[in-house]
Symmetry: C2
Subunit: 241 residues, 2 copies
DNA sequence: TTTGGTAAAATTGTTGACAAATTAAGCCGT
DNA sequence: ACGGCTTAATTTGTCAACAATTTTACCAAA
């Protein structure tokens, strides 16, 4: 697999120092949640988890409070924390927000585009195309490529708070959803074409068009996700109410 | 002062149960921060604060972690937490996000408007006008009215996550800014006219127009805020870096 | 069998004490 | 007097034990 230098933007999020146990276990738990290793709606048992990670309950509770800040768990007083379980309408709400914010990010990225940033985008597209042409491309890779594309756009917006909001909070929620629902392979080629159009608009410094295309791109993704019914999660979210 | 029934939407945020010390002190600290009782950029001393609130450091640390989730404090490992201090460009970033999200909220509110919601909006406008006509209207009241208007719009969008994002996170950051910078009185009449136009668009179920007007309304507020230089905060934020 | 209450177990909330790291103070040499 | 080092004090991070609440298990009565 081709590894382009620092287009993978995870570094800016992953290098949160593991100096403190609370932050360390926070990241481990976040990974476990978005990967689906901890089921949606499942209760978080403090003594059990603390024992599992070999730490005390103090740092663990702080980690859980940080997860609550990312909206990945819900805490009820004297009843503990549960991993969030999103039903279809809640995912729709997130997509509405995402459509608006990534449209903004895309417009800003277009307004502030430079030859260097466009080169980085083109390289990412090339990498994406290469993945699609390879016979044994797995869905996870495609998803990673898609995520990287959106990460890069948001970073090129040069709005730090927007970056934190999308890449530090909303994207983890979407990862959580994606880990539960199966991807629709037919959408990949279409998504690639849309990415290509978006980069063209950014390179042309056409902010309005870039925003429009990104919004439509996300609206398309939402429609695809909406058309397929997710059997397992909708019910679980009802149970916990 | 006239008190209309439950147009004040704070209840949905304030009634977070004070059953646990951590949540209680979290809300107290949040109020103290946004009101300016704790200075921007100032360090948070755990033993001192814990003693001040008469609690132990455990719950206090959890409260601080929740404040970090709201982006009201910044925590650095082994160095403690500091109240955020936003310079002008950071406030601008927030306004960009706000313009996008409240535009979305306004469009949704228009699409889903009912006679009842429009009545509530009209009552709020009447209250606002009454405040403006009264001779001794103070800036704080006007700000409260303005905040209530935006709260109501966001709630009428019926997007729960959007509500939490704006009213549970971003608005507190803006309150923090407003507490530091002096309001510009000349803008109030203009803001009221803009509110009126927005309600008209919502009542007419014209989502596109409502979104446009709200975006312009916030862009105007941003321009006003941008034109006045804030003397004290810009430097403080430099110090802490 | 079901229902209700009671007691036991488990879990969450809270506390104070200890360890590690950072910051401040003091000292010495130049 | 100034800079750098050592040491002391403060502060943060972590832990284990205690208190309070909730959940579960159990038994008796209808």
């Amino acid at each position: 697999m081709v590894k382009i230098v620092d287009i993978s933007l995870d570094s800016s999020l992953k290098d949160t120092k593991c100096q403190t146990l609370a932050d360390d276990v926070f990241m481990q738990l976040r990974t476990a949640i978005v990967k689906g290793d901890i089921a949606s709606g499942s209760k978080i048992n403090e003594p059990q988890l603390a024992n599992s990670y070999g730490i005390s309950r103090g740092p663990l509770r702080e980690a859980i409070r940080r997860l609550e800040g990312c909206k990945l768990v819900e805490i009820r007083p004297n009843a503990g924390a549960r991993v969030v379980s999103l039903n279809k309408s809640q995912v729709l709400e997130i997509y509405e927000i995402r459509e608006s914010l990534e449209g903004l990010a895309c417009r800003l990225a277009a307004d502030r585009s430079t030859p260097e940033s466009c080169t980085a985008l083109r390289e990412l597209l090339a990498r994406q195309e290469q993945q699609m042409q390879s016979a044994s491309w797995q869905q996870s890779y495609q998803h990673e490529g898609d995520v990287d594309f959106h990460y890069l756009i948001v970073r090129l917006s040069e709005n730090q708070r927007l970056f934190e909001l999308l890449c530090g909070e909303l994207y983890y929620l979407l990862k959580l959803c994606r880990a539960r629902t199966s991807a629709q392979p037919s959408r990949h080629e279409r998504a690639f074409r849309e990415h290509y159009q978006i980069v063209d608009a950014i390179e042309g410094k056409d902010g309005e068009l870039a925003e429009l295309l990104m919004r439509r791109h996300i609206a398309n993704a939402r429609s695809t996700l909406l058309s397929q019914h997710q059997p397992q999660n909708g019910d679980i979210s009802q149970e916990q109410l």
